[in-house]
């Protein structure tokens, strides 16, 4: 029974609430790094590592961090983890580091990380949070590899760098260029629409209550604080301010740095 709770988190992350296909979090790195399956895989693993660790640390500190400085504290923790990840990747996987470039430090602003911290780690024990991070990370990785593989096959005729298309195939380069990213993503969401699969950005999505973000990172902070149907269905009114103003904190933050 106890095991089931952890396995359930993984199933949830990979399938039921897949961060990319269902929750539509982290679109920026998705579009940018999926030029090949290898890049998608590397990005996915880096994000998974950060996600697991940030979930564990934030969950362990959930009773220590005061409510008012919760967001800055989380950002500091996530940013340090990302920097550690960045340095390790540069040292041990230099080729991958070069091809992912600026998108490794940008994991900091990936909505998946802060979204899971807010939605799960702050309310649950470290171990189950770790599994939540693992599940979400794996779901993200699988999605990135699928999209990256699709673009790589069409755009370069290879997968994981291995030639798979027949010699006569002329690669459709546009798929590994910028517009290809938008095209593939558009087809994917259209398919989800057609099959009426749950997806945060599609109008037909049932049960919007567990959806964190409607493809709009700017809203995810607000959603994660109060994920109700009203905020999700009203993306045109960005007037909502974060529920907890952290007015006192900036002065300290600057002194710190």
């Amino acid at each position: 029974m106890k095991n089931n709770k952890y396995l359930e988190r993984i199933y949830n992350g990979v399938w039921k609430e897949n961060p990319l296909f269902v929750l539509v979090l982290g679109t920026c790195p998705t579009l940018a790094v999926t030029t090949s399956a290898t890049n998608g895989f590397g990005m996915g693993l880096a994000a998974t590592a950060v996600l697991i660790l940030s979930n564990i640390i934030i969950s362990a500190l959930r009773n220590v961090i005061p409510g008012k400085v919760r967001l800055p504290a989380e950002i500091v923790i996530v940013a340090s983890l990302v920097t550690v990840c960045d340095m390790l990747m540069e040292a041990f996987t230099p080729e991958l580091y070069d091809s992912l470039g600026i998108f490794i430090p940008l994991i900091v602003v990936n909505c998946i990380i802060l979204g899971r911290a807010e939605a799960f780690a702050l309310k649950n024990k470290p171990l189950v949070s770790a599994f939540d991070g693992l599940g979400m990370g794996l779901g993200f990785t699988v999605a990135l590899v699928l999209i990256g593989g699709f673009r790589e096959i069409l755009g370069a005729g290879t997968i994981f760098g291995l030639k798979v298309m027949p010699a006569g195939y002329t690669p459709i380069s546009i798929f590994i260029l910028a517009p290809g990213a938008f095209l593939v993503y558009a087809m994917l969401t259209a398919l989800q629409n057609k099959l009426k699969l749950p997806c945060a950005t599609n109008g037909d999505a049932k049960d919007p209550d567990h959806v964190m973000c409607d493809g709009n990172c700017t809203m995810c902070r607000i959603h994660s604080l109060a994920p109700t149907a009203e905020t999700i269905n009203a993306p045109k009114k960005p007037a909502a301010k974060p529920a907890e103003p952290k007015a006192e904190t900036p002065a300290t933050e600057i002194k710190e740095n």
């Binding site: 504290a73 500091v76 920097t83 340095m87 755009g155 710190e256």
Partner: protein, 207 residues
């Protein structure tokens, strides 16, 4: 306003940031030497590709000065918007200088700067090879510059000034363009010309 509470919150945030900073410092201590090694190995590998006969590459203190003096002369040769970034001496096993390794940039690629590394033999002044350090061209077109079809034509070529040909067979002083990416080919040629000019006219070897 509860001053005590604010101070407590601030202190906790301070503590978290401090611990984070220390952890980062520790990781940096561990990874920095490895990263330096990796970068050095990568640079050496590129140099080796460009100049396979050389055993080691040496910097020369006078180079930055020569580069800044020759800047205007190179700009006036009509090679386009090109610059020389660096020049290393290629040494053989006995430490004798057998050639030069010039790093040159052309800002006229389709996607911005094209930075290449050119190997030039000391005696014959023929090219030993060309390697790409920065290339942001269009995938499937300009990016093909990195492929053997384009790259393998350089070793052994010799001229004071190379020109680009689009069709037919390229002669000794000609560079076969990448099909569909004339602009990239021209940028690469401009940078090579600048490198050759720099070695022939600006750089004096004093040993």
């Amino acid at each position: 306003m509860d001053v005590k509470r604010i101070i407590k919150d601030a202190l906790i945030l301070c503590a978290i940031t401090l611990i984070a900073g220390l952890a980062l410092g520790a990781t940096h201590e561990v990874t920095a030497p490895i990263i330096a090694d990796v970068r050095e190995a990568k640079a050496q590998a590129t140099y080796k590709e460009v100049y396979p006969e050389a055993v080691s590459f040496e910097e020369r203190d006078s180079v930055p000065n020569v580069i800044s003096v020759s800047k205007l002369a190179i700009a006036n040769q009509g090679f386009g918007d090109v610059s020389i970034d660096d020049c290393l001496l290629a040494k053989d096993a006995e430490g004798k200088t057998i050639g030069f390794l010039v790093t040159a940039t052309s800002n006229e690629g389709y996607g911005g700067a094209v930075q290449i590394s050119v190997g030039i033999d000391r005696e014959t002044r023929a090219l030993t090879g060309v390697g790409f350090l920065t290339l942001n061209e269009t995938a499937g077109l300009g990016m093909k510059a990195k492929e053997p079809l384009f790259r393998d034509q350089f070793p052994g070529k010799k001229a004071d000034r190379f020109s680009v040909v689009k069709s037919g067979t390229a002669g000794n002083s000609e560079i076969q363009a990448i099909s569909g990416a004339t602009r990239t080919s021209k940028a690469v040629t401009g940078a090579i010309n600048a490198a050759v000019y720099f070695i022939n006219n600006c750089f004096e070897l004093d040993d």
